[in-house]
């Protein structure tokens, strides 16, 4: 996948040049601010030699006449946690759903622009949508376990894609996924009870476990902690830090502190525009755009 020989490769290289910051080399804290069109970009150089995991260029989403995303371009780097922030209704969920084509089944949604995973356009006619969602997993805002047993919930993906051979390997995948989601100890004796009987926080972790059982490369999370208590929230934040080692995470959050704790970079959306993007500290502590400043100060005080 990484040996990109198509013209897409040239595209990525070109992009990388625009983002690379020669002055800030070696110093992760230093960044340069640039504005391309609408977006203020805090560009830090520390990552510069790595490949982009995903990139999006000039993404527009229309729901009928509602122009929900108005030309967003943002990169996702490997093994980073990118937080999408912004006021309610600004299009964070919409954008997130575009990243694994979950907007496809939405009637009258129209998506334009380029969204690429390791240099390949996932909206290409020849790109199989099942492959997209297998490589880019997702955890919805509201926990949505299937009305099946805990075991069946986790086994759903691996079974579907034939990722395991035999029952033992499947058992192993189920246990591992539950362990990584921090749920194993709580449910190991009731694996065959319905997943819908768990508490909200447990259900959310079940959904995360279900997503990582597929071994995706990128995990998208839409406000995974919005309905959780502080303890569950903490568990999930620790999980995200842990997941970062093997996956790339894009997370929607309203919680400034949470963004500071878990994310490497923040993308701030406003009414369908990407307003400001850069390292978390830079965007939250040193916002350049007036709209970002207001949002951030409204929360941090």
């Amino acid at each position: 996948m990484t040996d990109t020989t198509t013209e897409m490769d040239g595209n990525v290289a070109e992009l990388r040049n625009t983002v690379r910051d020669p002055k800030g080399q070696g110093d992760p804290k230093s960044y340069r601010i640039s504005k391309d069109g609408e977006t203020t970009r805090h560009e830090d150089a520390a990552w510069a030699d790595k490949d982009l995991k995903m990139y999006t260029r000039d993404v527009h989403v229309h729901y009928g006449d509602n122009h929900a995303i108005k030309g967003v371009s943002v990169d996702v780097r490997p093994n980073e946690v990118l937080a999408l922030m912004g006021p309610s209704g600004c299009g964070k969920s919409t954008f997130l759903r575009c990243l694994n084509r979950m907007n496809d089944p939405v009637p009258n949604a129209r998506i334009d622009g380029t969204i690429a995973l390791e240099g390949e356009n996932i909206y290409d006619k020849d790109y199989d949508v099942v492959m997209v969602r297998l490589r880019i997993g997702m955890v919805a805002q509201a926990p949505n376990p299937f009305p099946k047993s805990i075991y069946e919930n986790i086994a759903f993906g691996p079974r579907l894609h034939g990722l395991t051979d035999g029952k033992e390997e499947l058992d192993e995948v189920v246990e591992n996924s539950l362990r990584r989601a921090g749920l194993w100890e709580e449910v190991k004796d009731q694996l065959h009870q319905p997943g819908t009987n768990l508490s909200g926080g447990q259900q959310q972790r079940l959904c995360i476990a279900r997503a990582i059982a597929n071994e995706p490369e990128v995990i998208l999370m839409d406000e995974p902690c919005s309905s959780l208590d502080p303890v569950s929230t903490n568990t999930i934040e620790e999980l995200i830090m842990e997941l970062k080692k093997s996956f790339t995470v894009v997370i929607v959050t309203h919680d400034m502190q949470q963004a500071e704790r878990v994310s490497d970079r923040v993308a701030y959306f406003h009414l369908g525009d990407l307003v400001e993007v850069g390292p978390t500290n830079a965007v939250i502590r040193d916002a350049q755009d007036q709209r970002t400043k207001e949002y951030v100060s409204g929360h941090i005080g």
Binding site: N100, M102, P105, P107, V129, V130, M131, R133, L134, G137, M138, V139, A140, A142, N144, P145, F146, P147, F156, G157, L160, H161, P194, T196, C207, R210, A211, N214
Partner: protein, 436 residues
């Protein structure tokens, strides 16, 4: 209003302490109470109507489950029936039965001052065939004597159940003076008693009420219900899944939707006419056959099951579908693995209710020829058949008085089947809900 508020509120008092607020509160409570009690009254009225219906059916029909028998000492007289057990005319057995009656009534063997056919008319015309069959099965009986309990005729049955007015003069009575005397004698001797009439389920239709049963109708009905279940359920589920999950939302599918909803409201007799024109006249299905009846009922039930299946699909939370898609399931897999299993109990419930409706349907069956007298259950889907509701219709129109209580009893049997089906639907739903 503003006046009242101004007057009512104490100066500097809180708004909720004002009289206006309190009177609004009282109004609200009163309205709530009115709504509650009118709902209660409505339910009571519905229950009362249902109770009246059930009471009238049960009170008139319970005796339809009983049949009156008379105890007779039957001698299988060798002189009358001869030696060859296989080849005895039923008339001989009529004589044997009559002799039994004569003995019971203390009458001389040779008729003197009465007509032997008056005596024959006391017992069911089926008795001689029963005796004939008994001898065929067991030729050793010839020459022996046995105590038997044989069914009386329908008129006697009515008289014993007290449903015949015996105080009127002979011309307006179904029993002659002589027969009435015999009846009283048999009753006084304790030879008459009621028994549960299993024949209601195991016999087929007959011209004699005391021999008539529902077996042919039960078989016919369930063969047709089987045809409906086998064809309507899969077709309806496939149609519902397509319309709900895959069909593009455009004019064309909207038209299909409107038509399905309208079809569900089409009176069943129209489906009967359609069946007559299409299945009998064009496709040449045999008249009055379970195949033709089943086909008509399939047409009639399809829209009902489609609508039930669609609402079951629509009630599946979209998050299940999304959850499957997020895990990389194709649209098809998401439907088959999450949506359909979740919707299945609802679909089954709808199907059973559709089947129950088909079970009670009469009009379309009459139109495709099922109004004939059918004395045996169908032997195949092309054979002539009848159905429980058709049987009810025929008995209700029969002139013999004995069929009146049979009609009520048959209604109770039909209601029992409907009850069993609806209970199955409820049990299925609960079972699935618990598992989910």
């Amino acid at each position: 209003m503003t006046d009242a508020t101004a007057q009512g509120s104490a100066p500097g008092g809180r708004r909720i302490d004002s009289d206006a607020f309190r009177s609004r509160l009282a109004t609200r409570r009163r309205k709530g109470a009115i709504l509650k009690y009118s709902g209660l009254i409505a339910i009571c009225i519905a229950l009362a109507i249902l109770g009246t219906l059930l009471f009238s059916i049960v009170s008139q029909g319970w005796q339809g489950f009983l049949r009156t028998n008379v105890e007779l000492e039957i001698t299988y007289n060798e002189e009358i029936i001869g030696g060859d057990a296989e080849d005895i005319p039923s008339g001989a057995f009529q004589e044997i039965a009559r002799n039994g009656l004569q003995k019971a009534l203390g009458l001389p063997p040779e008729a003197e001052d009465y007509d032997p056919s008056d005596l024959n008319a006391l017992i069911s015309s089926g008795v001689r065939y029963d005796l004939q069959q008994a001898v065929r099965d067991e030729p050793e009986l010839i020459g022996r004597t046995a105590q038997l309990s044989v069914p009386v005729s329908s008129t006697m049955d009515m008289a014993y159940k007290g449903k015949l007015n015996l105080d009127v003069d002979e011309g307006r009575r179904q029993l002659s003076n002589q027969q009435l005397e015999w009846f009283n004698q048999l009753q006084d001797d304790g030879r008459l008693h009621s028994e549960f009439y299993w024949g209601l389920f195991s016999n087929s239709d007959s011209r004699s009420p005391e021999l008539a049963g529902l077996w042919a109708g039960i078989v016919g009905s369930f063969v047709m219900i089987g045809i409906v279940a086998a064809f309507a359920f899969p077709i309806a589920v496939a149609a519902a899944v397509y319309l709900e999950e895959f069909a593009p939302k455009n004019r064309w599918t909207e038209l299909v939707e409107v038509n399905i909803n309208n079809l569900a409201a089409v009176p069943s007799i129209i489906f009967g006419l359609l069946g007559l024109a299409v299945f009998l006249n064009t496709l040449g299905f045999p008249r009055s056959s379970p195949l033709a009846g089943g086909a008509v009922l399939v047409l009639m039930t399809l829209p009902i099951i489609i609508i039930a299946a669609r609402s079951a699909l629509r009630s599946v939370p979209p998050s299940y579908r999304d959850g499957a898609l997020m895990l990389g399931a194709s649209r098809n897999q998401a439907v088959m693995k999450t949506v359909l299993p979740t919707a299945l109990p609802g679909m089954l419930t709808g199907t059973i209710i559709g089947l129950a409706q088909a079970l009670g349907e009469t009009a379309p069956l009459l139109l495709i020829g099922m109004q004939a007298f059918v004395a045996a259950p169908p032997e195949g889907i092309n054979d002539t058949a009848t159905a429980i509701p058709v049987q009810i219709y025929l008995w209700a129109n029969a002139p013999e008085r004995g069929f009146a209580e049979k009609t009520q009893a048959a209604i109770m049997v039909l209601l029992m089947f409907l009850l069993i089906m609806n209970a199955t639907a409820i049990i299925l739903r609960n079972r699935f809900q618990k598992r989910a």
